[in-house]
């Protein structure tokens, strides 16, 4: 490592760290305010609430009908996970193992939904879904959420599959394994860490995906983020603490999966999709 010992360099390093720490502190404080507020009785004009209580969770659960909402959220999320896993892993296998004409074009096709922000393609997508009477239903939300998650799984899985030696597959073929047997008994066990990581990230993304669900959900297919949005939007109708309690429940339902996912992937990989994974070990 190169060491800079001039005063200017030291000042610069301190400034860079100060900005980083300031930023992280603010992020933590924003999260902490939500948690503290959801646990406080009355919080007006002081550093901390007067007293602490758990009552807001019970009232939020009742007021916002969180039971059914959570059930729908995870029903949608797990359906999206299963379908994007099925579509994504098979496509990634073909992309990793075969060189076919038009492969670059197909790759570009898979990159597009990740580059265009959800709100831009969400509006025409919602229009089409409503045209086919799927808009506002469970399957409408699932279809919309699959648009970014299928390419995401493909891009994460391609490098995972590429690093498996094709000779292993060839050996299995020599011993008479068919494509299905090869998948189940040879490839799957080796791919499990990659599949698990990408699907957990899909789960996190789907639970946290606001725009697409907002545009395509009906009253019975709302996920937790969308309900939270409507609650914050109509704040004043309900107590702030109650909304904060709901926000904490949302936070827990996303972060649990993130924590599990982080056991398998590096945080930089969540942002720098698949193609960067050669850098992030």
């Amino acid at each position: 490592m190169i060491r800079d010992t001039t005063i200017g360099a030291k000042l610069w390093i301190t400034a860079v760290w100060a900005i980083t720490i300031f930023f992280v502190l603010n992020v933590l404080a924003i999260i902490a305010t939500v948690i503290v507020s959801s646990l406080g009785t009355r919080w007006l004009g002081t550093w901390l609430p007067n007293a602490f209580t758990l009552n807001w969770y019970a009232s939020a659960w009742q007021e916002f009908q969180l039971g059914p909402v959570l059930f729908v959220t995870f029903q949608i999320a797990f359906t999206v996970v299963a379908l994007s896993g099925l579509l994504g892993v098979t496509a990634a296998y073909a992309m990793a193992r075969r060189d076919f004409p038009g492969k670059k074009l197909v790759m570009f096709l898979f990159l597009l939904p990740l580059l265009v922000p959800p709100i831009t393609f969400g509006i025409p997508l919602a229009t089409v879904l409503y045209q086919f009477n799927v808009g506002g239903t469970f399957w409408g939300v699932v279809l919309a959420n699959l648009v970014p998650t299928v390419p995401f799984v493909i891009l994460v899985m391609i490098p995972f599959i590429e690093q498996i030696d094709p000779k292993v597959e060839a050996a299995a073929r020599v011993f008479g394994a068919g494509t299905f047997k090869l998948f189940v008994h040879v490839l799957m066990p080796m791919l499990i860490p990659g599949i698990l990581a990408s699907l957990l990230l899909v789960l996190v993304r789907t639970v946290a995906m606001f725009e697409l669900t907002f545009l395509t959900a009906g009253p019975t297919s709302q996920t937790l983020v969308v309900s939270l949005y409507y609650a914050v939007f109509a704040s004043g109708v309900r107590a702030v603490q109650s909304i904060d309690a709901m926000a904490v429940i949302y936070m827990v339902s996303t972060l649990v999966w993130l924590l599990v996912a982080l056991r398998f992937v590096n945080p930089t990989q969540i942002v720098a999709r698949g193609n960067q994974s050669s850098n992030a070990h």
């Binding site: 603010n26 096709l109 409503y130 983020v225 972060l255």
Partner: protein
Amino acid sequence: MTSSTPQDTTSLRQKLALRGIDGVTLLVLPSVLFVLAIFIYPFIYGLLLSFAPIREGGMFANYITFFSDPYLYNTIAATLRLAVPVTLLSVFVAVPVAMRVRLVRRQRLLTTLLVLPITLGTVLVAQGMLNYLGPQGWFSRSLMLLHIISSPLKLTNNYWGVFLSLIITVFPFTFLLTLSYVTGIDPGLEKAAATHGASAWQRFRHVMLPLLVPGLAIAFCLTFVQAFAVFPSAVLLGAPSGPTRVISIAAAQAAFEQYDFTMASAIAMIMGVVQLCIVLIVLVVRNLFYRGATSGGKG
């Protein structure tokens, strides 16, 4: 492609397999069909729909309405006023921070903390910031305690609320992306420059920066596209009928308040075109710079 004489007897199946098309290749089809049906088709449908207005005035009526109504066309400027400064600030701060963090051995804690706002999403950050930045929130309180300000700052329900919430959600994204590019550069290159007596600034300016430019251009584009699509925080933390009436609000209103999906599609198309323009400008500028390997070669 003409196959030579000995292979003329091979079947079509073998010919296709030679070009990389067999049963395995077909596995890619379901996903391709899915993306075509649920992503490409709606886009084309939306494009055509935007030229079929439900009001009178010919096929361009929606676009004419958009560009003649200041309440609508001003949303482009309002969105750019948010997205451009946020993107520039994020990229310019991300570079020095990433250059520093790459030297730290245990980055995991920091990167995990930074991934939190991305995962939690804009709605939760907006709700947290309403409390945190509010007149009685911890932010103003701390500044008053330190005697930096005498009365609470007004940071919610205006431009600054949206600006700050965008920074909170977008900066970690830019930073992690930049970090992955910075760590991809061979540290040997910088060491070589240091051995030859280059100062820290010279090493950055003449060695690291030229190698980083392509990555930074991508980071800039992705950050900008995200910031330009700002929606929930502009409604919750901003003044959605005033200075933070961004273009996505106009599109959502056309769709779900006026039920005019042709107009909503037109606005979505305009949004896409603006994003594309900025991305193209950035990519053209990037091509003016050095492009080459980021790893040190032998020789």
